[in-house]
């Protein structure tokens, strides 16, 4: 039976709003969602050049976790896992949150030591994590080759129970549903071309809709543009400490369930998880040069297949079904840029590179608080752009591309 009421609707933007979000990915939509939910700000539009979720938000490999390195950011990840879990009930929509646990593999002593260090930080912050021996790993993942003769020997690892996956399309649709319910405007096909600034304050944007040029006025503008952040920030005369690099991922044919966790090799930058359908989602390869073009290379598929076969020899002969890519906005310290900008009324949430999916709801919640109240929430105080001028880097590390 067809639904009588649509779950969401799209519209052309009005000529004026209390706040405008540029970028209809999960970060932008989450910010708009919490502006409405927590602060009653519903005269808001989310503008996207293409469609909601066109960028990293529906290209990512769905991994969530709360165990990266920097203690400055960990509370944000913890909050995010909580919010992912709350959203399904709140929006009455299944986000398919699956806390199946994340297992990290180390292949040498240095890797094990780095895991121990992060383990101590996490334990301090009350985040569940366990250090495992190769024998314990073998018990959790029977298909893993832990033999000493393996080409990629396994020296140890960790088990992080709060990690897992959230279905990325379900997340995009769920937030669209939530936004529509609050009366926030979802406006795809709106290509923002300039940001207007008067006396040091933003007062709106100019955009192309179809062949037409429109202006939308708003005293508050939030930029959540993933790989395109530099392009749009430049419209406000702002240069970012970001480069845009292309990231590739791929998926195999479906097989019977055999892999219960997300498994990440931290040295070889590859990871794998089996979806509920049975296919294996694998990533990821970051080409170390700037590019706004999405492409896939043989080098990636060959390298990924090689590492996966060393870890899981039984996967030999499994067919690859698809590969795809997306853009990653990378900062030098590996940490994001979140906060107010030197132009009054202008905000940014960027630099999430290949690891921003998991953080989307918490980013939205904290940015919404900043936008609505003008006060920077504690969880994002370390993440402002000024840190690059002040030499206060946040020591995040690019541990695994998940």
């Amino acid at each position: 039976m067809a639904l009588k009421k649509p779950l969401w609707k799209f519209c052309e933007p009005n000529r004026s709003y209390d706040a405008v979000v540029i970028g209809g990915g999960l970060h932008g939509m989450a910010a708009a969602y919490y502006l409405a939910r927590d602060f009653g700000m519903t005269n808001v539009a989310v503008l996207d050049r293409r469609r909601m979720g066109y960028g990293g938000s529906s290209r990512n490999t769905e991994v969530i976790r709360a165990n990266q390195r920097a203690p400055e950011i960990l509370p944000l990840y913890v909050q995010s896992i909580r919010l992912w879990n709350e959203l399904s009930a709140e929006v009455e929509w299944n986000f398919m949150v699956w806390m199946k646990g994340l297992i990290g593999l180390a292949h040498n002593a240095a890797g094990v030591n780095s895991m121990r260090m992060r383990h101590a930080t996490q334990t301090n912050l009350g985040i569940e994590n366990h250090i495992l021996s190769p024998e314990e790993l073998k018990k959790l993942i029977p298909a893993l080759d832990t033999s000493r003769s393996a080409a990629i020997p396994i020296a140890g690892g960790y088990y992080h129970p709060p990690g897992g996956t959230v279905h990325h399309d379900a997340a995009v649709w769920g937030l669209m549903k939530g936004l529509h319910r609050h009366g926030v405007h979802l406006c795809p096909g709106v290509d923002v071309r300039s940001i207007s600034i008067k006396n040091g304050r933003v007062n709106g944007v100019e955009a192309k809709v179809g062949g037409n040029k429109i202006t939308i006025s708003a005293p508050l503008i939030h930029m959540a543009l993933g790989g395109w952040s530099s392009e749009v920030a430049a419209m406000a005369g702002i240069t970012l400490p970001v480069v845009t690099l292309p990231l590739q991922a791929m998926v195999t044919e479906c097989v019977k369930p055999f892999l219960n966790h997300v498994v990440v090799s931290e040295l070889y930058f590859c990871y794998c998880q089996q979806s509920i359908k049975g296919d294996l989602i694998m990533g990821a390869h970051l080409d170390p040069w700037q590019s706004y073009r999405s492409y896939n290379t043989y080098e990636f598929a060959a390298e990924q297949a090689y590492f996966m076969l060393q870890l899981f020899p039984d996967l030999a002969h499994l067919k690859l079904m698809r590969s795809w890519s997306g853009l990653c906005d990378m900062t030098v310290d590996g940490a994001p840029i979140m906060g107010a900008l030197p132009i009054e009324g202008l905000f940014i949430d960027a630099g999430w590179g290949y690891f921003g999916f998991k953080a989307s709801p918490a980013c939205g919640k904290n940015m919404a608080e900043l936008i609505a109240t003008g006060r920077t929430p504690e969880k994002i105080t370390f993440l402002g752009m000024e840190r690059f001028y002040e030499g206060r880097m946040v020591p995040e590390v690019y541990i695994a591309r998940s």
């Binding site: 530099s230 240069t239 480069v243």
Partner: protein, 82 residues
């Protein structure tokens, strides 16, 4: 598909033979303040379009070259030997 770079010494070669050296930027003078230096080191134009940049031909002539590439299409114009 990746793309190819036309090395002035070696000719058209696969991009994976090279190491990316970043955007060609204007270096601040020796007496520039620390803020200018940090801007130079950490901040990027990150253009979606024509881009002047450095590459090192690791698997070839082992020299630095400067090229102009369109980051939207990855089309490369002629390289210049430095």
């Amino acid at each position: 598909m990746g793309f190819q770079i036309n090395c002035p010494n070696c000719g058209l070669r696969d991009v994976y033979e090279f190491k990316f050296g970043g955007e060609a930027k204007e270096r601040p003078g020796p007496d520039a303040d620390i803020r200018r230096w940090r801007h130079y080191i950490y901040f990027n134009k990150n253009a979606n379009g024509l881009h002047e940049e450095w590459w090192y031909h690791t698997a070839g002539c082992q020299s630095w070259i400067k090229i102009t590439r369109d980051t939207a299409t990855n089309r490369v114009s002629e390289g210049e030997n430095i």
